[in-house]
Structures are given as structure tokens and as C-alpha cells.
């Protein structure tokens, strides 16, 4: 179990597999660079990401804003109308920041120098699935995101404690409201069922007692931070997993992580996330044992996974449905184009079934084939066109008219609400800038590839699939190109979209 992959099996395909899974994929140049490093160093480069400086600044609004806090705190003194107006403005501001936050994170994934770190942040976001829809504060969502980033590959118990005290989580699972008179069980239950142990590994009594242990942990709205209120804490005697004591929140989490089921649960889930398959019982045991021996640290586990023969086995490779985020980020990286503007990315991801910072529920997204329905598949095929041809201007409030409207504090609906309407079509006027950001074929294809149909198809396979198309699909693509006469830019762009509109492109 977990024997390192032999060096002679290291090639373009396996390096691409590593980059797809441990990161978000990349263009042929990046894959070739990993091939040249050899398997050990390639994995190390991804895993030891702290050595690479992270230069992305935090969003402007992420700093504390005492002025705003004062304003909101003083809302009680205002009249009902004034208070409602203030709340509406605040909601609007938070929505706008959420849109920015989504763009900020996607940009990190697409352009950042630490792909594994961002991949792990995405994993933790899906794992501790917290939604803006209840938290309603973009700054708190950003702070949680930063916590996941800081502790992305660190120690399990430390991450768990910090997440339990994270303001967004305190709001999301109602821990902020829990007090000794009547403890709220929501967090106590989900932390065991979904975050650490799994169903059947705890009793209803453990939930009730765990909730008592957690009382006192709450969120201080004025200070925008975690506080432990001793007067809210139930100091009585508790029995959890058959152990007795006067436990508090940290004790409870420590007791959980010490359970044998805890190591099995999280290592299995990580394997599923990265390998896309269920581990065999043997492999699951090996992963859990390695994790335990390393003191519940994630980095040694990840290194072992990415080096292992099992990770490169045929049933793992090219057998995972890309998540919508993986699909989007992987596509812009492989196509070597910029990310579309944040609002366009958000609309694309929503149509494919993954709203960042708004998972469907506390269980997170269903990975794998769960991403694919007739509806979301059709959306992928159509969103491919946006990436290939370039996004339209005037989309989702980006039209100059809509921006002015926002600036003036008017309703935003004008731009976003009428895609076919007059406001959105006005940039059609002569001199309007062309659709921005499509694929530059000269940038990603050599002269030879742009003039020979066979070479073109080969180049697209290598770049977009890192594998061969099915023979019948290769034939269809060739017939399409033949029907278009001599190769030109339009034909090449259409061919790229066709490759992206195959079942093959949806897996990696």
C-alpha cells in the first residue's frame, strides 16, 4: 500500500493527472515542467507551497471598519424607516462584496502560485460548508476562507477548533445562540455527523452532552469576533463517548478527534476528493494509520497520496467528473486566457451547480457524478462557448449604463435584468469594443498546428484532455473541420468548443 510511483512511469499523462487533481490543471508548458522535475520533486513543489511567496493582497474591505460598526450599533436609536433603509444598504453592500470575494478567490485559483493550497481551501469550504445566505456578511466569509488557507494542510485538531470558533461558522450552525439554559444542538450534531465522525459513530446523548460542553462559545457582534462567555457555559458534569468530566468546547473537539473513526473519516474523504474513487478497505486503513502516526497532520498524508501508485492507477486517472470550479479554472488555465469578470464567473458557476460561498446545505456539494444532470451538462456545453469566443460586454451590470446607475445609487436591475433589452444592446453601436477575452489561437497553437487539421486535433487533445479522443469522436471533429474548408480562426475556435462539448472533457 502507498508505494511510491516508479520513476519510469512518470510522463506527460501522469504529471497532468497530478496537476489536475492537486491543483486546477494547466497548459502543456506547466505540465512539461513537472515532467522534468520527476515525480518526487513535482509533488514536493506542490505540497511545500510555503516556499513560494503569496503576493495576493486581501480585499480592500477586509479590514476592520469601526465607522460601519458604530453606524450599525446605533441603528436602535433610529426610526423604523431609517433602520430599514440602513439594513437594505448594508445587504446591498454585502452582496457586492460577496461578488468581489468570489472573483478574488477564483483569481487566486486561476493565477496564484500555490494551486494545492487553493485546492485544499476549496476542499475545506465544501467540507465545512458554510453559506453566505445565512451568514450575510462577506467579511466573515472571507475570514473563514483565510482560516482554511492558513490551516489548509496543517493539524486536524487545530483546524477544527479554529473553525468551530470562526464567526461565520458560529452563525451558520447557530452556536452563537447556544446557552446553558437550552443548548442549541445544531453544531454539536453536525460537527460529529458531517465534519469528523460520520453517521452511526455517536449517540443522541453525545449530541446533547456535546452541545452542553460547547455552551459559552459565541459571537460578539460589536467586536466582530469569537468570545467565550463563562456565564453562558454549562459547567456541570458531562458524559461524552462514555467518558466523564466537566468538559468544555475544546475538550469535546479533542475527544472527537481522538476517536479512531475520526482519522478514517477525514482521510477517506480526502482520498475521495483527490482520487475520485472510494478507497479499498486496505488503502483506507493505510491512509488512516499514516495520518495517525503523523499526529493528525495533513501534509504527510497528502504527500503520500500524490506519490502513491494507487493515485496513478487506471481506475483513478481520467475517471473523476470535474467540479464546476475545476471545470472553469482548469479551462481558463488550459486555454491560457483570463478569467471572465467576477459576475460572469458567478453566473457560469451557478448554472453548472456550484455557487461559491453558498453551498446547498451543510453537507456541501455532492462531488463526482452528482455534478452531472441533464441541466448542468447542457450548461457546461454552453458556457464553454463563453470561454472560447469571449464573454459579451454588457453582461450582468457591466454595461457602462448599468455602472453609472449603480454609482448613482439607483436600482441595478437595468443592466442585469434585460439581457436582450435596449440597455444591454446599446454597446452594439459602431466602435463598441469587441467581445473580450476569448481564446487567442495564435498564442496557444503553433503555425503548424493552425495549418494542419491532424496536428490541430492532436494539439487540442494534448492541451484539453491530455489523452486521446475516442476514435469516433476524433472522426467527427475531423469531418467538422473538413466541412469548413481551409482552417481559419473561426473554425479553430469552433473545434475547441466542440472538444469542450464532449462527455470526455467533463472528466479529468
Amino acid at each position: 500500500m502507498l508505494r511510491p510511483l516508479a520513476a519510469e512511469k512518470w510522463d506527460y499523462g501522469s504529471a497532468a493527472h497530478l496537476l489536475n487533481r492537486a491543483g486546477f490543471g494547466g497548459p502543456p508548458g506547466e505540465i512539461e515542467a513537472l515532467v522534468a522535475l520527476g515525480p518526487e520533486q513535482a509533488v514536493d513543489r506542490l505540497v511545500n507551497y510555503e516556499e513560494i511567496p503569496d503576493l495576493t493582497p486581501a480585499p480592500e474591505w477586509a479590514k476592520p471598519d469601526p465607522e460601519r460598526a458604530r453606524q450599525l450599533a446605533g441603528a436602535q436609536r433610529l426610526s423604523v424607516e431609517e433602520r430599514q433603509k440602513l439594513q437594505r444598504e448594508e445587504q446591498q453592500r454585502q452582496r457586492e462584496r460577496l461578488a468581489e470575494l468570489r472573483g478574488w478567490w477564483l483569481q487566486r485559483m486561476a493565477r496564484g502560485a500555490r494551486p494545492l493550497q487553493e485546492k485544499m481551501v476549496l476542499f475545506w469550504h465544501g467540507h465545512f460548508a458554510t453559506s453566505f445566505e445565512k451568514v450575510r456578511d462577506a467579511t466573515l466569509m472571507w475570514r473563514q476562507n483565510e482560516t482554511f488557507r492558513r490551516r489548509a494542510t496543517g493539524n486536524w485538531l487545530e483546524l477544527l477548533i479554529e473553525t468551530a470558533k470562526d464567526p461565520a461558522m458560529l452563525i451558520w450552525l447557530d452556536q452563537a445562540q447556544s446557552r446553558k439554559e437550552r443548548p442549541n444542538e445544531n453544531f454539536a450534531r453536525e460537527v460529529m455527523e458531517l465534519f469528523t465522525l460520520g453517521e452511526g459513530e455517536f449517540t443522541e446523548e453525545d449530541v446533547a452532552q456535546g452541545a452542553r460542553a460547547l455552551t459559552g462559545w459565541t459571537f460578539d457582534r460589536a467586536g466582530q469576533r469569537f468570545v467565550n462567555r463563562p456565564t453562558w457555559h454549562d459547567t456541570g458534569h458531562k458524559v461524552i463517548f462514555g467518558k466523564e468530566g466537566n468538559f468544555d468546547g475544546e475538550d469535546f473537539l479533542e475527544l472527537i478527534v481522538a476517536r479512531p473513526a475520526a482519522g478514517r473519516f477525514i482521510t477517506r474523504k480526502l482520498w475521495r476528493f483527490f482520487a475520485g474513487t472510494e478507497p479499498s478497505e486496505e488503502l483506507a486503513a493505510a491512509l488512516a494509520s499514516l495520518f495517525r502516526r503523523s499526529g493528525n497532520e495533513f501534509k504527510p498524508l497528502l504527500r503520500a497520496i500524490f506519490r502513491s501508485e494507487e493515485f496513478y492507477s487506471p481506475r483513478v486517472r481520467r475517471n473523476q467528473v470535474k467540479s464546476p470550479v475545476q471545470w472553469l479554472i482548469g479551462s481558463v488555465r488550459m486555454l491560457e486566457r483570463e478569467l471572465p469578470p467576477p459576475e460572469v464567473c458567478a453566473a457560469m458557476l451557478r448554472s453548472m451547480g456550484q455557487d461559491l460561498f453558498a453551498p446547498p446545505n451543510v453537507k456541501g456539494w455532492e462531488e463526482g457524478v452528482g455534478w452531472i444532470t441533464t441541466n448542468t451538462l447542457m450548461a457546461r456545453y454552453n458556457q464553454a462557448a463563453v470561454l472560447v469566443y469571449g464573454e459579451p460586454d454588457g453582461v450582468a451590470g457591466r454595461a457602462p449604463a448599468a455602472q453609472t446607475a449603480r454609482g448613482a445609487g439607483a436600482k441595478r436591475k437595468g443592466g442585469a435584468g434585460q439581457p436582450g433589452g435596449a440597455a444591454a444592446t446599446s454597446p452594439e453601436a459602431p466602435g463598441a469594443r469587441p467581445a473580450a477575452g476569448g481564446v487567442e489561437v495564435k498564442r496557444i497553437l503553433s503555425d503548424a498546428q493552425r495549418s494542419s487539421k491532424e496536428e490541430l486535433i492532436g494539439a487540442l487533445e494534448q492541451r484539453l484532455l491530455q489523452a486521446r479522443l475516442k476514435p469516433e469522436h476524433r472522426r467527427v471533429l475531423r469531418e467538422y473541420l473538413d466541412s469548413q474548408g481551409a482552417l481559419d480562426e473561426a473554425g479553430i475556435l469552433n473545434a475547441i468548443r466542440l472538444v469542450m462539448s464532449t462527455p470526455e472533457y467533463q472528466v479529468a
Binding site: 447556544s178 457524478v369 447542457m378 462557448a385 442585469a416
Partner: protein, 443 residues
């Protein structure tokens, strides 16, 4: 040749491709816009009668999150109720009275009207033995009609598709939204999901080079066809794969299969969606939009037997009163509009709508103005041919009659399923549910 709906410019096309998804929730009017365009292709509403597709239809409405049954159908005259809920309890002068003991939540004005009009049944105390308080496990139990301690692979509707809709089209089941409910998971995969007919197609700019048909779309079709022989025999290389579930075959097999279904159903839905016209005003909500689309597809003559829509947000651990009222108002207004619409379209007699939620909530309120996960709760069945009124027995609220602070169920939810399968979808329930559950008078 009828005129294809095409986008005149690439820019216009791209706008649809991106915004199509976004509009489904930001712009409530999207359907009107969509159907106005599609109506041009419609070939008239009488087609539906000619196709002979007039079987009964079941609409399943999931109230996700665990709706608090006690504040939905309220035992307002019960002292135990008010003792357990000093803050959340609804008094007799607030509720919409049904009897001397029970009343509807004040937000359920539409449901009260349906009740009074003989179109709403309230099935009381629905649950199952050994209730599970996890959202996911309990939802799974409802979706697969399993025992609480057993995992069942296929959904109860999926098993119905397998048993009664063999060889037919994927669109015997339509789920409105992006996800496929576990209830649809079947041995032979069936069921499609969509939320916007206009973007439910492979969109091209509609400007093929002069003198050519749209070669791009032709190629797309070929790339998304599955070997027909394999598709017909799911025991072969295309292994049995459930809706949103674990896979037997490879991930690629699953995507290929879905691609074929998407293509076939896309053609059909575009043809059908333009035929009907909605004849009622719906709330501008996700649920309202979903039911509006369902009414449209029913009126247009889809051969679909089961539709699935859902409404989320019922996990009211904190500040429940306002949140639940808002949700129940949306529910009641949307369903009322749906009924009115179907009535006007002459379709109501063949449609039955059933609501469900994975569990009710604790009898006692918590300290945060909310309620925690509980057990039994009422569900609603709506239709013209429903036996309206209160069905079954309300569970006792006496403390010694509760199980760990929860209501004990008085009716197994599988009795409701058995009744709907046999008396509405006309299928024997025993093979599908694995056990005989006594039917209740519903239809």
C-alpha cells in the same frame, strides 16, 4: 420547415448563454420572456389531446430543512403546546381555524382557501419508526422509502419508473432545478432536470456559413450520441447508474448517458414548452417559477408522470416565526396559483401534488427563538380529486406520550406513498415498497 429559434448575433447568443442561468433566480419574469420567444414555434395547444397523453400526474414538493409541523397545522387549543412554546406558540386568534382544536399557520391563506374548496387534504402525524434527526439521512429515508436502519439504493419514484415506465423516455420524470433528487434514482436511469427551457439546448450563434446547415450543431449531436445498442441494454458497458448516486460504471459512462438524455429531452422540451400559456399569476420566487414551469409543461403535453420541485430554508433553529411564515406564504401562494393555473388549463383533474419534509421539529422551542430537529409532522396533498379534509390522527403532545421530546408518528409515510402509487399512479405498491402498507383514503 418551422423556423428555428436562433440568435442573430454571436453577442446576443453569448448573453443568453451566460445570463440564462443567472436569470432563473434574479429575474422572476424570465419564463414569460422565454415562453414568449418559444411560443412562436408552438403548434397549438390541442396537440396534447391528440397525443393521448392524459395519464395522471404526481407533483412532489420537497420542503427541505425540516418544517416545523406544529406551527404549520397548529394545535392552538392545546395547553401542552403553549407550555412547550412560550415564545413561538400561536394563539387561537392568530391561526386560520380548521376545527376547535386545529388551525393553519396565518401565512397559509391560500391553503385555507383550498381546504375550504375541498382541494386540500392534511395528513397528520406522518413519520416512521426510529426517527433519524439528521437532515441527510432522514431525507434519504423519505426519498428511498427505506427502513430507518437500512440503506436503500434506489428512490421510491425511481423504482416506480423501473416497474411501470420500462423502455420509455427519460422524461417520465422531470426535476425542476439543477440537482436530481435521490427519489429518482433508478436501476435504469430515468428523469431529467431543467430549469429554463431556452438554455436547455446546445446553443450556437445561428449563423452558419452561407449555404450550409449548422455544421457545429450537427457535430455536437454526433459527439453526444451513445452507441444505441449499449444505451438500450444497461446491463452492458453502460452499467446501471442512479440519478445522483454512486456509480457502477465509470464517470465517463455516466456523463455519456446523461448527454444522450439531455439531447433527446432538449428537442422535446423545446417543442412542447411553447404550446401552453400560464393562466395564473405566481409569486416571484424560486418555487413559484418552478411550479409555473411544471404547469407549462403539463399544459404543453409532456408525457411526464412525476414532477419534482423543492423549496428550501425550513431549518429554523433561530428566530423561526418570521422565517417560517415567509416560507409558508410562498408555499401556499405558489401552490394556490398552480391549482388555479391547471384549473384554467383544464388539467387539474389529472394532477395531484404532495408535500413532504424530512422531519418535523421538537415540541419544545429552543433558547434561540427556534426549534431543533424532531420527528413526525403533517403533510399536504392537493388536487381536484383529493379527499379533502383532515386525515389521520394528530399525535399527542402530552409529555409522557413524547419520545425524547418528539411527537410519535401516527402514520407511516409509506402509507401515503402506497396510496399514491396504487390509487393515483395505478401501480401495485408491494413490489416497490417491499412491504404492504395500509392505504389511507386520499383519492
Amino acid at each position: 420547415m418551422k423556423k428555428e429559434l436562433t440568435f442573430q448575433t454571436r453577442r446576443e447568443f453569448l448573453r443568453h448563454a451566460v445570463l440564462g442561468g443567472a436569470l432563473t433566480w434574479t429575474v422572476p419574469a424570465f419564463l414569460a420572456h422565454t415562453f414568449a420567444a418559444l411560443a412562436a414555434q408552438g403548434t397549438g395547444r390541442r396537440v396534447q389531446a391528440a397525443t393521448g397523453r392524459d395519464g395522471t400526474i404526481l407533483v412532489v414538493l420537497q420542503m427541505a430543512g425540516g418544517n416545523d409541523g406544529l406551527n404549520t397545522v397548529v394545535p392552538y387549543a392545546n395547553d401542552e403546546y403553549h407550555r412547550a412554546r412560550p415564545r413561538l406558540g400561536l394563539a387561537g386568534d392568530k391561526v386560520l381555524k380548521l376545527t376547535d382544536e386545529l388551525g393553519l399557520n396565518p401565512a397559509l391563506v391560500g391553503f385555507k382557501a383550498l381546504y375550504d374548496g375541498g382541494q386540500l387534504a392534511i395528513v397528520q402525524g406522518v413519520g416512521y419508526p426510529n426517527p433519524n434527526r439528521s437532515h441527510f439521512r432522514s431525507t434519504e429515508i423519505w426519498q428511498t422509502a427505506s427502513e430507518a436502519n437500512r440503506s436503500e439504493r434506489y428512490g421510491w419514484i425511481g423504482r416506480y419508473f423501473d416497474a411501470a415506465c420500462g423502455g420509455g423516455d427519460a422524461d417520465v420524470g422531470v426535476s425542476v432545478g439543477r440537482q436530481m433528487p435521490q427519489a429518482f434514482r433508478a436501476k435504469r436511469p430515468k428523469g431529467i432536470s431543467l430549469d429554463n427551457p431556452q438554455t436547455y439546448r446546445f446553443m450556437t450563434s445561428g449563423r452558419p456559413r452561407p449555404g450550409q446547415k449548422d455544421a457545429l450543431e450537427e457535430s455536437f449531436r454526433k459527439l453526444n450520441q451513445v452507441d444505441e445498442a449499449a444505451a438500450e441494454h444497461p446491463g452492458g458497458t453502460l452499467a446501471a447508474i442512479g440519478g445522483a448516486g454512486p456509480v457502477d460504471g465509470s464517470a465517463l459512462d455516466f456523463v455519456e448517458r446523461t448527454a444522450l438524455e439531455a439531447q433527446v429531452s432538449s428537442d422535446r422540451i423545446r417543442a412542447i414548452a411553447g404550446r401552453g400559456t400560464n393562466q395564473a399569476a405566481y409569486p416571484a420566487s424560486n418555487l413559484g417559477n418552478s411550479l409555473r414551469l411544471v404547469a407549462r409543461l403539463i399544459g404543453g403535453g409532456m408525457p411526464t408522470r412525476v414532477y419534482y420541485v423543492s423549496q428550501g430554508g425550513y431549518d429554523t433553529h433561530t428566530n423561526q416565526l418570521a422565517a417560517q411564515e415567509r416560507l409558508l406564504k410562498d408555499l401556499s401562494d405558489s401552490v394556490q396559483a398552480f391549482v388555479k393555473d391547471l384549473k384554467a388549463q383544464g388539467q387539474l383533474a389529472r394532477v395531484l401534488l404532495m408535500t413532504f419534509s424530512e422531519f418535523g421539529r421538537r415540541v419544545a422551542e429552543n433558547a434561540s427563538g427556534g426549534t431543533d430537529h424532531g420527528a413526525a409532522a403533517p403533510l399536504f396533498v392537493v388536487g381536484e380529486r383529493v379527499k379533502a379534509g383532515l386525515v389521520g390522527r394528530h399525535p399527542s403532545l402530552a409529555p409522557d406520550q413524547l419520545f425524547r421530546g418528539d411527537l410519535k408518528h401516527t402514520l407511516d409515510f409509506r402509507s401515503v406513498y402506497a396510496t399514491l402509487l396504487e390509487d393515483w399512479l395505478e401501480t401495485p405498491s408491494l413490489p416497490l415498497l417491499g412491504k404492504a402498507f395500509p392505504k389511507i383514503g386520499l383519492v
